[in-house]
Symmetry: C2
Subunit: 203 residues, 2 copies
């Protein structure tokens, strides 16, 4: 008789998502490699081996966390991009959407930020590299449209600008805590104000 099939994906997704949530928080706080399966189990109130009833490896937990996050992220991004707004409005919408995602998936974003660089080379995490390319394309084309339409400055290196905007947004995940004094929309507003108009007084 072959081994009994484990639930893995088919079972009630409820407990699964719960466990992925605690795993994501531990990963985000301690780093993926520094996080042992036993620590995750501790936080979940169970023993290490029991996790393997729900998932078939530590790595697959990481993959599912990142996949879920990126899927939802691109749902939001594609909605914005398909709306075909002006360049400035697109940038504003993308930034705002990003902060909403940070609000919803702060742990996943933190993990993504810390680990994506050395994960992306692995075949299993190729979707990270692909996402990064889509990301770059979306932002760069928006910036280029803006320069062409003369709403963004043309005296800046556009790739430097891209990295600047991209980083300013996502690094926020490292200090942002949901339920703080600023809502995601408020943070987005202030960030956009700084990125677009600068912090210097206009003379």
């Amino acid at each position: 008789m072959p081994t009994k099939k484990k639930p893995q994906v088919t079972a009630t997704p409820e407990r699964r998502r719960e466990l992925l949530g605690t795993a994501a928080e531990v990963f985000a706080e301690q780093g993926y490699n520094a996080t042992t399966v036993r620590k995750i189990a501790d936080h979940a109130g169970m023993l290490a081996g029991s996790l393997y009833y729900h998932f078939d490896s530590k790595e697959s937990m990481l993959e599912e966390i990142l996949r879920t996050f990126l899927d939802e992220l691109w749902d939001g991004y594609d909605t914005v991009l398909d709306a075909e707004l002006g360049p400035r409005e697109t940038l504003e919408a993308l930034v705002t959407e990003s902060f909403r995602e940070i609000d919803r998936h702060r742990a996943a974003v933190a993990i993504y930020q810390k680990e994506s660089r050395h994960l992306a080379v692995q075949e299993r995490f190729a979707f990270l590299a692909e996402s990064q390319r889509k990301f770059e394309k979306a932002w760069l084309s928006t910036l280029e449209r803006g320069v062409a339409a003369e709403v963004f400055r043309d005296d800046l290196d556009i790739r430097l600008t891209y990295r600047f905007v991209r980083d300013t947004v996502w690094v926020a995940a490292s200090w942002y805590r949901p339920g703080g004094q600023h809502s995601p929309e408020e943070i987005a507003r202030q960030y956009l104000s700084m990125v677009l108009d600068g912090i210097a007084v206009r003379t």
Copy 2:
């Protein structure tokens, strides 16, 4: 007879710095926890155990890398701060100095960025937390002076601005490669232009 004293700090610092350099690069690329002592030894062309002739633990390598970096960083920062420039000039000098440090210690900066958060709680790495406090104080007071002198906008949350400026600068270490097409000074110039004046066309 007690164990023979190992060189550790007293020996010729030449080979030591060489090894710390390669260790830093591996740490930066793979992450500290994901980096095994054997990998470092590989990159250095020796065996794992041999590293312990020069250092007494993997952690002490990390500590020395970060300490060396922060010491040099604060050398530069203190020079700037002691010059008692105006707020805008101070900010410009600090940013420029930061990019020079990224140029010189890119690996250490990358490590610092990834690991400092969960390292700082350890007693051994208390100097990280202390440095972060000094850091915050220096930047915040500069920004406050600027607001008071009406060279920086007063309609922004100053702590948000602080994190914004701080992050945009240091994240650059994750993509910066020395010997690229932009010098540290040129990158600093463009970053400052964006941070101070924004990327939108002035109307």
